[in-house]
């Protein structure tokens, strides 16, 4: 499935989570530094949140 992290496209295995998208994007360390992950509607989402094809997430 394709997911988008800060508008960059990544391919993940079905069933993977926000954590996997951040690993692929090389951005997991940002969370350790206090950043959080949000969906398109500005809702915070947890690292274990399961993603679906086309999901767009943002780190702030």
């Amino acid at each position: 499935m394709k997911v988008y992290v800060n508008d960059r496209e990544f391919d993940l295995v079905q069933g993977m989570t926000v954590k996997h998208a951040l690993i692929d994007a090389g951005l997991l360390d940002m969370i350790k530094k206090g950043k959080k992950v949000y969906d398109e509607m500005d809702n915070e989402i947890g690292l274990s949140g399961e993603l679906t094809d086309g999901a767009k997430i943002y780190i702030r």
Binding site: F10, D11, L12, V13, Q14, G15, M16, V18, H20, A21, I23, D24, I31, K32, K33, G34, K35, K36, D39, E40, M41, D42, N43, E44, I45, G46, L47, S48, G49, E50, L51, T52, A55
Partner: protein, 509 residues
């Protein structure tokens, strides 16, 4: 004139009384994706303890005392943390019984221990498990009707159709997962006229909930889960209120509804943060502590014996017997031709002698699971090249392998160090496809391992047929079982471990 005024007054009073009689104040409390996080913990990147089931339970009690209340859970309650996993979710159910849940929708991870265990958990529960779009498991009810303050409330449960791709295929064998939208449409048609409020208890994710609300009219409330979304601001699509309460019991969802003449005239929702402060529910705390003691005790259990020292120290520079053991287990579990992990997956050694659960947990401490993906011989070679590309720095990317053997020369430039590669005893063929087991971290591109992601990228869309994945590139994914637990099961089954370095990775000059 006076009798006329009297009649008018009586009529007005009757109207007010009638109005009060048809106005109802009710409350829905909700959680989702608890995943067995019974004790408060510091989430990754946070310095604050959050959650704590006993504190959440106490808050539920207080809120429930204020008005007629439903307490519901939107799935993934029994699997995840050791506190739940070691008891296959029994601990979660025991606590939820004490908390008097009214209904739970089955989440995709509820299937992770297999159908027989799920049936046991459903039997133990004092509340119904819902799953309207699941056929083949009669213990799941499509919906329930609850009466609250004279209102009839229908609660329909649905789970993601992706469930067969997120658990071992045998866990969903014989089950069918229908379209959540079609399913809800069917039940709303059946239930709308006979009930005052329609609630969908959903484990399909927030964006899918939005889609559901757009496509199906007649839903009053969707209480969601699966995407671990913290819906802090109220979201309304058409007339449907969409809620979700983050994850791990770190917040409690509260929805207050005012219903007048069968219609919702006011809806106030909020998420209350839960942390280990204030009062805790003693009964739930006793359950949390009881199972935590068992977890602690379990860590000291002996699972087998190693007849040799198992080397987890040199995994970033060379083949080790512990690397061989872990990758052999992964390859066999996935039924793959080969297995490749980064040395960084293995964190420490195990001394010769008795092996305790805590030893295995120290070796593979992360919440990683096994994935197997089809790679070409070329991609396998590239993967191994990446593995030895920073050997001089001792980085965690150095590979540990099973089903494979290769030679490399560290003096050659990175990217052309790998020489001979054999798989299953035969020379690797560049354009032939092989199944390679790894962990989800590397499959997601962790530690710079890109071949797995590239393979997935080139994969055609795969389908789930009869509960089994008919994938193009992805051939195995068992997100419901951590690697460490697979290793423990293997050691228990063998009792004695004796494994050696056998020349799978050889340095040449």
């Amino acid at each position: 004139m006076r009798p006329f005024l009297k009649v008018l007054f009586l009529l007005a009073a009757a109207a007010v009384l009638m109005s009060c009689a048809t106005q109802h104040e009710i409350r829905i409390l909700h959680v989702n994706d608890f995943h067995g996080f019974a004790a408060a913990y510091k989430p990754y990147g946070s310095e604050e303890d959050q959650g704590g089931l006993a504190y959440l339970a106490e808050r539920v009690e207080a809120l429930r005392a204020e008005k007629p209340t439903l307490l519901v859970a939107a799935g993934d309650m029994i699997q995840g943390n050791n506190w739940a996993n070691l008891f296959q979710g029994k601990s979660s159910i025991e606590a939820m019984n004490v908390m008097k849940f009214d209904a739970v929708v089955v989440g995709n991870h509820e299937f992770d221990f297999g159908q027989a265990i799920l049936k046991e958990r459903i039997e133990e529960a004092n509340f119904p498990f819902l799953g309207a779009n699941v056929t083949g498991l009669s213990q799941l009810k499509p919906y329930i009707i609850k009466n609250l303050d004279g209102l009839s409330i229908a609660v329909i449960g649905i789970v993601t159709g992706d469930t067969p791709t997120t658990t071992h295929p045998k866990n969903v064998s014989g089950l069918q997962f229908s379209s959540p939208v079609d399913t809800v449409e069917k039940y709303v048609r059946e239930l709308r006229a006979k009930n005052d409020i329609i609630v969908v208890l959903s484990h399909i994710g927030f964006s899918a909930d939005m889609d559901l609300a757009k496509k199906v009219e007649g839903i009053d409330v969707i209480v969601g889960g699966h995407s671990h979304t913290k819906v802090a601001k109220p979201v309304v699509v058409g007339k449907t209120h969409i809620l979700q309460a983050f994850e791990h019991g770190k917040v409690l969802g509260v929805l207050d509804l005012t219903v007048h003449n069968g219609s919702i005239v006011r809806a106030d929702s909020r998420l209350e943060p839960i942390s280990p402060t204030g009062k805790e529910n003693k009964a739930v705390e006793a359950i949390v502590a009881k199972y935590q003691q068992k977890v602690d005790s379990f860590m000291n259990d002996t699972v087998g014996e190693s007849l040799v020292d198992l080397d987890g120290v040199n995994v970033r520079q060379q083949e080790t017997n512990l690397g061989n053991l872990i990758t052999d287990i992964m390859r066999k579990a996935a039924g793959a031709d080969a297995a490749i992990i980064n040395g960084g997956t293995i964190r420490t050694s195990i001394k010769k002698g008795k092996i305790k659960v805590s030893d295995v947990y120290a070796v593979v401490p992360f919440d990683n699971y096994i994935v197997a993906i089809k790679l070409t011989g070329k991609q396998i070679r590239e993967t191994l090249e990446h593995g030895v590309s920073a050997i001089e720095k001792g980085e965690g990317r150095f590979p540990q392998i099973s089903g494979l053997a290769f030679t490399y020369n560290r003096l050659d430039p990175a990217g052309s160090r790998v020489k001979d590669v054999f798989i299953g005893g035969h020379p690797l063929v560049a354009d032939k496809e092989y199944t390679v087991a790894t962990n989800d971290f590397l499959a997601a591109g962790g530690d710079g391992y890109k071949a797995f992601g590239d393979a997935v990228k080139s994969s055609k869309d795969y389908a789930v047929i009869g509960g089994a994945m008919k994938g193009d590139k992805l051939v195995y994914s068992n997100a419901g079982k951590w690697l460490r637990d697979v290793v423990i099961e293997f050691i228990k089954s063998r009792r004695e471990i004796s494994i050696r370095v056998e020349g799978r990775i050889r340095e040449v000059k």
